[in-house]
Amino acid sequence: MVKFTKYQDYSESDFLNDELFQNWIFKPNEEINAFWAQFILDNPSKSDYISRAKLLLSSIEFKEDFLSEEKVRDYLKSTFASIDNTERQNKKIIIRSLNIRWWAVAASVLLILSVGYLFLVKQNKQQIAKIATQEKPIHDIAPGGNRATLTLGNGNTINLDSAQNGSLAIQGNTQVVKLNDGQLAYQNENNSSATVQYNTITTPRGGQYQLTLADGSQVWLNAASSITFPTSFVGDTREVKITGEAYFEVAHNANMPFHVKVGNITVQVLGTHFNINAYEDEGVIKTTLLEGSVKVSEGKENVMIEPGEQAQIKNPSDKIIVKKDVDMEEVVAWKNGLFQFDNTNIQDIMRKISRWYDVEVVFEGDIPNTRFNGKIYRNVNASMVFKILEEGGIHIIFKEGKVIVTN
């Protein structure tokens, strides 16, 4: 610490110009405060100078021109995109261009950005292994994107992320067309279709896809999900089968009810909007209705649900529980490119994250029972999401390719 003696002969100007004195005003801390308080006590004759100098130094302020948080976030994103791009060129890792169009439905999605390049860590394990010696440890995980595999009736598979836009296959009278934005559409040439074939679209962990069926119904598939459907609809019902999570906007056709099969459960609709979450690790199959009406049946039991209600089925033999006033925005947030939490615990959150970022999540020790509220875009790196969770007292680290959650 500087000795008082240095300051005993100081004039007002001397104080003004002294860096330690200025620090007391600009960035005070306990030590510095104590120093000057003691100095004034010991040298009361200087208190006049000191007060005036202090007052002058603290009288000048500056206007602050800060950008909005959104804007800074946008710049951060584009900077990361540019970094990824350069690193891709430098290291010759195969990286695919993904033009993610965030599924435009909800008005709540304001800023829609397209992410240029994503570093497909998991998809390229082999390449990573090859260059492991020169590669730094992975500190972040890129978000999922529009990825899926199409299995045709004849068993052939088409990788939809690398397939060119345009017609992919003709089956009977139906054309399968890849649209330019992570979407697939089925178009019937005419209605007489003797050769109905069943197709399956499967999304991997970290994938999502949108599909327009031959009847015009739209289906959004979340990560680690699948849908099996006919290339054209004939007969008196329209029937599809799903696993994982899907959101439906079914085209109205009173003459041909739409059936969704999930295991033993059937959801029957005429034309409506609803979400089915049937991930096995969630333990509950949830059908949430946004518009119209649907009937959920399992064996002999069945219930009709209304908009805002959710039918929950835990075990095949249990009764169907109907939950009212469900936060629908939260249920379909994934389809709108968001993670949304409403009084959600960390285990539920990490299951979603594990599917979307395709990472294994391990819990270690006692995890605080914090509940989280709020939303965040899904098209950000995992670290961004973790940062927000850390605010809630949860610690998350990357270790050996896994995500470890500790208190």
Binding site: S13, N17, L55, F66, L67, K136
Partner: protein, 190 residues
Amino acid sequence: MAPPNHVWLRICDGDRIAYEEIFNYYFNRYCNYGKKFTDDSNLIEDAAQEVMLTIWNKRESISSINRVGAYFYTSFRHNLFDKIKQSQKLVGESHFLEDPQFSIDHFMIKNELDNEIRIQLKIAIANLTDRQREAIFLRFYEELSYEEVSGIMNISIKATYKIMARALAMLKENFNLPPKLLLLLLCRHL
């Protein structure tokens, strides 16, 4: 609060979370600083982003940089000045290009001061040179040390002390508190 040194060091290892922390703090700091020289947000934000990219690209040498926080202010200032000069050249505003001026408009005097004193101080600030104004901003607002200020403004530490001393003398001269008010203020501030 400026992120501490260890956050910078984490960037050396390619830690993107640390980088994000630095980005979130400094991007806005740079833009705010840039605003004092020009109103052209595009130039400012471009310069800020380029510096942020430089930080990532140079991350392996960060550990050897002294006072790393201040170091990149220097890059930003340099980058922005180049851009401003370039744009002036394009519109043919000037043949001889000087450094951009540090605006007076962004200085504010504490509200609780007597109106007359505030006007006096404002006039004093207007009479300072651009360099004096910038030095005051970097020292008062950015809370950088004299040494760091000298690095950013590309002058010696001695020159920085001189610039600051002259500026402070000028302000002090125009900081004439009426005796009565002085007493009052002194009581409040001690």
